[in-house]
Each structure stands twice: as C-alpha cells, then as structure tokens.
Symmetry: C3
Subunit: 283 residues, 3 copies
C-alpha cells in the first residue's frame, strides 16, 4: 500500500502501546477502499504478541471518523469477500476488534458518525472531548438502517430507551449527553482528553498481557452480542440502501453538500431532520 | 364505545403521528374497564400502515396513569380473555406496544405508578417533567408483586441494583432521580417537556417507516425480555392479591383514602411505608 | 468459633433486619479463615424465616472490606470444599447472597477492593459514602484476574465499556464516579449514609417477606449471571496466582507494605500502577 494514499496511520509508541490515527481529510469518510487498510491493522492487533493497548484517534479537525462513502459504487463494497468470522468485511473487523486480546480505546474528538460511532462502540472504552465530540447514528434519518452493530451494542450499553432515542431520532449527541447516556465512558474537557487517554493507555501497557486478555475474555462472555446479531445489521443496511426512501434522501443530502466539507457534514443531525421535508413524503 | 365514558382519547395529529391521552379524572386509575379501550388503540397502532410515532400523555392534573383499580371485582379482570400473544390482557397489550413497528413515547407529567410506570416502561422512550413527574412501583409496599413487566424491564434499563431499589423500596422516584437511574431517557423542565416531545415526534414522523421499523426490530432482538418473563409477573400479581398480607394492607390504605383524590394517592410512596405499622406485623 | 477472634459481627436489630459488620482491623482483609464465618452468616440469611433485610457494613476506619489474604498459604484456600452450589467457597457464598430471599444492602465507607467490591456487587443494592468510599478491582494491576464475579456482574450493571475500564485500569473509583458509573446505587454525603441506609432497611423490614422474595426472584431471572460464569472467574484467579507475572508483582507490593496499614493499602490503585515499573517488564 502506498504510504501517500493511506487513510490510517499506525504509530507504535512502544511494543505494548499503539496509536491508530484516522487521517483522511477533510472528513474521515470510511469507504470500501479503507477496508483493506483497517483490516491489516486489525490483523496486526489480533496477532502481535507484545501489544496490550491500542488507541484510535483522528488527525482531522472536526471529524473522528464519519459515515460510509456513498459516492463509491455499491459493487466496490459488495465485491469485498467476507472476513474470517464469516461476517461481511466491516462488521467482521468490528467484531474482531471487540474480541482481540488487546485493550482498544476510542479517543473521540470531532464527529463519530455512522462507521465512526460503530468503531467507537466496537472498542473496549470510549473517551470524548466534552466540547468537540459529537456521536451519532444518522442512518434512520436518511432512510437507512445502521449496518455496523449499534442496534446490538447500544441497548447493552445504555438501555433500550436511550438506544432507541439515539437510533430513531438519528440526531447529533454532544459529549456531555453521550456521557450521561453511557454512549462514552466519560466526556473530558478537550484540553485534558489527550493526556488522560495517554496516561490510561500507558498504565494498561505496564500490566501483564495474559491478565488483561483473560479478564477481557470473561467480560466478553458477559457482554458481547452474538456475531449473528451484528451480521443481521449489515444485511439490513444493504437492503435499505437500495430502496427509494434512502436513495431520495441521500440524493437530497448530496445536493446540499453531503460528502464535502461544510455545513451538511458538520451538522448532519440537523440536515437529516430537514430532508423528509425536501422530498415528497414517502407515504 | 360511548365517547362520554371513554378514559383514553386518541388524537391523530397527522397520519404519521398520534397522541394517546389518558383522561380519566381524578386519578387516571387503570381498571378492567380500561382494557378494551387500550386494546383497540394498541391494535390500531400495530396495524395502521401510515403511523410512525405515538405519544402517550395525560389530561389529568397530577397523574400520568396510576395503579390498577382495586375496587373492581377480581372477576372483572380474570374474565378478560388472553390477548393475541397468549399473555393475559394487560401484559399482552404492553408487550405489543414494545413490539409494534411504530415508535412509542411516554411523556410523563404527574404520577406514573404501577400500571402507569409499566406502560411507560413498555414504551420505546420516556421523557419526564423534572418538577411534576413521579415514577413508582408501589406494589411490594402493599404486599403485592408488580404484574406488568417491571421486574423484566427495569434491570435491563438501569441495572440490577437500582431496579431492586425501585421495586423493593416501593418508593416515589422524582424526575431527576428517574433520569439519573435511567428510569426515563431524560427529565426536562416542565415548561419544556411538551415542546421537546412534540419536536422529537415530528422529527421521527418525517422519517421512513420501514427504516424505523427495521431498526427498532433489531433493537428488540438485543433488548426485549422474553414474553414468558412478563407473563410470570401477572401470575405473581394475581397470586399475591389473594393473600392476607396484601388484603390487609390494601384495606388499610382504603381506610385512609386510597382510590380517592387526596394525600394517599398523591404520596403513595409515603403511605405504603406507613401501612406495615398500621396493621399487625405479618410475622 | 471464639467470639474474640471473629472477623464479622452479626447484630440482629430486629427479627426482620440484621446488620453484618466486618470488624477485622486494621484492613478488613478477607482470607481463607474468614470463609467459615461468612458461610455461617450466609446460611442463616438464607434460612431464617423472619429475616427480610440485611445490611453489610464495616467497623474499621478506612476499609469496608478489602482484598484476599495473600499471606495465607494457598493450600488453606484450595483445601476448602466447594459450597452447596458446587462453586468454590468464595463464589459460592457470593452467589447465595444474590439468590437469598432476603434483601442485601452494602453500606460502603472506606475501601471496597477485590473481595470487598465483589461482596458489594453480589449484594442487591450498594450505597456509598461520597467522601470516604473507594471501590476497586485492583487485580489486573497485580497480574491477577479477579475471582469473585466482577467480570460477570459489572458489565450487566454499568455496560461493557465502563466495566472494562474498572477492571483493566485496576484503579481506585471514588464514590461520586462510582455513582455516575452505576457501580453503586447512590453516593451520599458521609454524614447522611448511615441514616439513609437504616431508614431504607427499616422500610423494607416493614413489608411482606413473600412479596419481597417473589419480586426479587423475578428480578433474578432477568439480571443474575449464570453461576457457571462466576465459577470461571475463580479458576482464572487461581491460575493467575501461580504465574510469575502475579508472583513478581505481589512480591514487589509486599516489599512496599502490602497487607500492612499504610500507604500501599490506602492507595492501592496508585501502587499497582507503579509496580510494572519496579519489576522487569513481563515481555
């Protein structure tokens, strides 16, 4: 892979502590072309014998990691073979992050929307900038069904009621509300986020790998959704993508600047709340 | 059904957005006579092809919806045939609200006690007046076992410890504590509650029904208790109702004004805490 | 058992309301010698026909109940036969507290570390001193795996993300954070804790035992982890205890004052964060 076109950077701070940084300006959109990059990193995380903790963060102002790339041809996604879990590539990688014998931490500054929220939810812990983090599952607002696990994961994290609110209002959730709802472990003042996460990662990196892995595995038994539940979501997403309700809404969003730096991407929660009015009502 | 004796009003704000308003002054007590009314509404919610969101609220000052009617003869309850799920009528309707392909929102002002709390818990989301909402499962304080699902639903919403506190102290939970415990999604200043819920409902009503229904269905898989768990509760409630511990306590509450507008109904948490002292100790 | 060497005091405030007080100064360490004492109390809790509520608290300044006794020979632990559930003695007793037809309340002032946290988590409710409570699962920081249920219980109480943070950072959690995370029901001002818990216990003691027990049993169905999950943890703990990563770290902690009144025991979260630096890195 050519380093110049890479969307994700891997920084081995020490043998035990890696940083994975999304660096695909201006929006950190995740598309089929991102899949092999992330897959190589997930495989390394799963298999490195010395690694204990990995932090996911972003180098792009305003965006942790955002929605799927809807400008890529659908075939670019459907042509990707299933992963080792038997799930399709995106849910496969997310499930593997959750199961890896390594602690994963999402350090969220800017938007974690769609895939960005799903990657954060697949991680073991989430810390957010109180001022600059926005989490959201915007999909239902665009006639879609989320595809990377949030229906399975959010109710187990925050209870059914708040999960349904997040998913069915499809609205932007700022850092402090994300903390109150349990969407993130904690929201920290932006100036403190990096230091807090770094200290936490270095602390864990000083611990014994086998103790970490066995403890995490026992938590997995108590808390991970079955892979099959995650798999259902990807199918529902692909099914919805082909329907007129989604096509019409995505087209309307595109006409207003979707996939370009600007107001639609920055305030996606607001715009999906408008898009039902721009288009002929579905019924 | 005669409009003049109806306890529940249905207001179709739009084809996609309905309001269901409990209007049975002075207390919004729920009894066997309320069952067919609510059943007709639940059936309409389940089957209307254009409906996307329904808000439950109250027209009665001080009461969202309160406990079961203990003045009605028991036979009036036991004579009601089971519903389509095979459960008894009340749990049947509650289970069907949770499973309907429509978003249900409880807008809670005043007491949501007993059946009122159970209907709120069966709804997809709950928003409460910070100043005027009180939630409670008062039953254990009267020698009863709750019958409409809270033992199945509360631990999945707020964890076992807080669920046991709510159920076994049988005490009144004001809006702010209800939010901290996750009993409601949020408690809002009373002056903002109606506007907030209305905006949220109109937003969801602008979305695509199939996207809503499929997303909710996937959350159901992750979060709904099995019907059988809910069914056990109704049996436990009916069993407890026949025992002396409950009969004595309900009689004592009646002597102090239970089922009449006044202090016992308004501060039921306080009164069930006294009733064990009014009667000979059970042991 | 000789009253003079007892580590746990049982005070029958009334036939329906007991206090169980850990009184093993200076640290309330829990060891194999504590097992028969606690077992006798758990058996009494399970079988007394009049008991409705039991409060666990401490008579030792600074410590609710802390970690296992690592000075006792391992054989003293492995020689204890399994309990009636078929689990090893400590998890057996904890599981039985959770299942007893009696309400258990942990009133936490001082450290609830390791076994102390596990006993609190096995109890039905937890209330903490805002100023003086510290909860922690310190084990991973010492190369161990917790053995008394927290991997099974914490994710069900606070969600996977916060549970993994508590377990994998192995750090001290003060009262207010414990409340925000749902580790405890509530953190109360220290001056109010005793009055609050006593009033709550007396309230429950006035209720009907059968109503309490049936309601709790239905919550158990919805919320208790399977015994087998708890059982796995004890095996993982014993396995980890024999490995060099744990032995080296425990030895280093001992050299700095572990198991003696002083800074290591009072700030165990800090010290386990240092111990990986005192010893040769495991990898």
């Amino acid at each position: 892979m050519n380093a110049d076109t890479r969307q994700i950077r891997l920084d081995r701070r020490s043998p035990a502590y890696w940083r994975v940084t999304f660096d695909h300006p201006p929006l950190n959109i995740f598309g089929p072309e991102t899949v092999p990059e992330l897959n190589a990193i997930v495989t390394a995380i799963e298999t490195d014998p010395r690694l204990k903790v990995v932090v996911f963060d972003s180098a792009v102002e305003g965006f942790f990691l955002t929605h799927y790339n809807f400008l890529a041809p659908v075939e670019a996604s459907t042509a990707i073979p299933p992963g080792p879990t038997g799930l399709q590539a995106l849910p496969d990688m997310l499930v593997r992050i959750s199961r890896a014998p390594v602690v994963s931490i999402a350090s969220i500054r800017g938007r974690a929307t769609g895939v960005g929220s799903e990657l954060a939810l697949a991680s073991d812990m989430r810390f957010a900038s109180r001022e600059k983090a926005i989490l959201s599952q915007w999909e239902v607002g665009a006639g879609l069904v989320p595809g990377g696990g949030p229906m399975a994961r959010l109710p187990r994290l925050m209870g059914r009621g708040r999960a349904l609110e997040v998913l069915l209002t499809a609205d932007d959730i700022p850092g402090d509300l994300a903390e109150r709802y349990g969407y993130v472990n904690r929201a920290l003042p932006d100036a403190e986020l990096d230091g807090f996460v770094d200290a936490l990662a270095m602390r864990i990196a000083s611990f014994d790998k086998q103790a970490i892995a066995e403890t995490k595995h026992l938590v997995d038994i108590a808390s991970l959704p079955p892979d099959a539940e995650i798999g259902l979501e990807w199918g529902a997403f692909m099914g919805a993508l082909g329907r007129p309700a989604a096509q019409t809404r995505i087209k309307a969003l595109m006409e207003h600047g979707f996939h370009k730096a600007g107001d639609v991407e920055s305030r996606l929660g607001y715009y999906v709340g408008q898009v039902g009015g721009w288009v002929p009502p579905a019924l």
